[in-house]
């Protein structure tokens, strides 16, 4: 059956108009409306629809279909759980986590990800792309590719031991393929090796390793996806910030120059995606001031622009991008170039929340 509905299914509205309407619906409603008829089900499940729906969701200016996901430790004895932010206090049921480890990996829960409890898993969220979230669980030799919206989860075997591993998740537009990147470091200062997992091929392969500039491991575990490339902020020994980028189509590394004049020495810097821009949050070792830099034109070094400086180091302990293209620092929300006075409810996450677009993209690829 074709992905487009050819026949009139409605005496009220023609099918091309129904298609337009369905593209504007949130993913949860669409999953429910698979029950309307076989035709609606096959249409909503079609690859073409999922792509168009995703495209529309990504340009939605109201950002209503964005969510945050983060992992937490509730106490020192590693009690990990995850939370999905749509509204306050929506937390993923740890039973759901348990189900990740079972063979039956598609969990069915009766609650709306809302119950809280103890779990002994230390879950790390490593990236997100087009509604898919990449995560791993400490001491567990799998990666998980998860669509929180459809609740589908795919396990990906990743067994190679390493001193340190960093990851990334991205989409290769040319091959129409999702790719998981893993960079392995065998010791603190050795050359790294990179492997890429292709969802289409369902296998890992080695690609060129990164051999330019610093060989210190990156300062965070997850690569940031901007402009179809994954970015990591590498460790450094001479105060220079080195950002490496990996083109997911070519599978080749490049260096992205950081901002000039970053004021004194920067440490504890964080790389991120702020509303589609490559964003760098730096901390001055002299003043403790934090600054937010944005690369306005991707690839243009001179377009790095400081959009905000936080002088109160108490305020600046954590600074995380939010789905509405704002920044959250544990206290206030900064968005659209003005400080909002309103407080945001957010539990103290131990890891940086990751924003994802709600989509129907399947972690199993084209079924």
């Amino acid at each position: 059956m074709g992905t487009r509905i050819e026949r009139r299914i409605s005496r009220h509205l023609p099918e091309e108009i129904i298609e337009e309407i369905l593209h504007s619906l949130p993913s949860k409603s669409l999953l429910r409306f698979k029950c309307v008829s076989k035709r609606w089900c096959s249409f909503i499940s079609s690859k073409q629809f999922i792509k168009r729906h995703l495209k529309k969701s990504k340009i939605d200016t109201d950002r209503t279909n964005r969510s945050l996901v983060s992992s937490f430790r509730r106490s020192p004895d590693i009690v990990g759980f995850m939370s999905l932010f749509r509204g306050p206090n929506t937390t993923l049921d740890p039973r759901y986590l348990q189900s990740l480890l079972d063979d039956d990996i598609i969990a069915t829960l009766d609650s709306n990800h809302c119950c809280m409890g103890d779990s002994t898993y230390d879950v790390r969220i490593l990236g997100s792309c087009n509604g898919l979230v990449l995560m791993n669980i400490e001491n567990y030799h799998y990666l998980f590719l998860w669509n929180p919206c459809t609740r589908e989860i795919k396990k990906i075997r990743c067994t190679r031991p390493a001193f340190k591993k960093v990851y990334g998740l991205g989409y290769d537009e040319y091959a129409d393929d999702y790719k998981v990147v893993c960079i392995f470091f065998s010791t603190r200062r050795t050359t790294s090796q990179t492997e890429v997992y292709s969802l289409k091929a369902d296998s890992w392969k080695k690609i060129e390793h990164f051999d330019k500039g610093s060989n210190y491991p990156p300062m965070c575990e997850s690569g940031k996806l901007v402009n179809g490339r994954l970015h990591w902020l590498m460790g450094h020994d001479d105060n220079d910030l080195v950002i490496i980028s990996l083109d997911l189509v070519e599978e080749k590394y490049e260096i992205v120059a950081g901002p000039k004049n970053t004021e004194n020495i920067c440490f504890g810097s964080v790389l991120n995606n702020l509303g589609g821009y490559l964003c760098l949050i730096t901390t001055s070792s002299v003043t403790g001031h934090q600054s937010v830099w944005v690369m306005i034109e991707y690839g243009q070094t001179e377009s790095w622009t400081k959009i905000w400086t936080c002088s109160n180091s108490d305020d600046a302990m954590k600074m995380w991008p939010l789905p509405n293209d704002g920044i959250y620092n544990g206290k206030n929300v900064w968005c659209k170039y003005v400080w909002c006075a309103r407080l945001v409810y957010m539990v103290d996450a131990t890891t940086e929340p990751i924003c994802y677009v709600e989509s129907l993209v399947s972690p199993f690829g084209d079924k």
């Binding site: 999953l31 429910r32 409306f33 309307v36 008829s37």
Partner: protein, 163 residues
């Protein structure tokens, strides 16, 4: 042409139930269908719009006048559209989207489609079947299986009031 006479040109539109409406050409040409007729010189007399009834056409003209009075400011236009559609029920919106499609008014079409989606968002499967006139072609077993697979999406669904 309007520019030559120096005074605003008015067009007369006729709905499929023979109601006549006067509307400024500058507002009416938001519809690509009408604009093409004007450009082809077919707009001399009365423009018949065979797929739009009088009630809907009156509403579309209100929209045309409202939106064309707003200068080029996307934010303001968006808030006008939101306000314009805010109190419309499903049937009215369905008529509007058909009219917008026929008149080839993409901005109105997008806004009404999004509004219908918003109305549908929390509705039941039964409500959608009724409003869209869709026959349930699942066997009870098949339907139960599809429902079971997406059970959590049935939480928070509004009870049907058919509004």
């Amino acid at each position: 042409m309007a520019a030559e006479t120096g005074t605003p040109t008015t067009l007369t539109l006729k709905s499929n139930d023979d109601e006549l409406f006067s509307v400024a050409e500058s507002a009416a040409i938001l519809s690509v269908t009408i604009r093409n007729m004007v450009e082809d010189g077919c707009a001399g007399g009365v423009i018949p719009l065979d797929n739009v009834d009088g009630k809907t056409l009156a509403s579309v003209i209100t929209y045309m006048n409202g939106i064309s009075a707003i200068p080029a400011d996307e934010e303001k236009k968006k808030s006008y559209r939101d306000k314009f559609l805010s109190d419309k029920d499903f049937e009215t919106l369905a008529d509007m989207v058909l009219a917008a499609n026929y008149l080839n008014m993409s901005c109105l079409m997008d806004a009404v489609s999004a509004k219908i989606a918003q109305v549908m968002e929390k509705k039941s499967v039964g409500w959608v079947r009724r409003k869209f006139g869709i026959e349930n072609d699942y066997t009870p077993e098949e339907e139960a299986a599809v429902k079971e697979e997406h059970k959590w999406t049935f939480e928070g669904v509004e009870t049907d009031d058919d509004n």
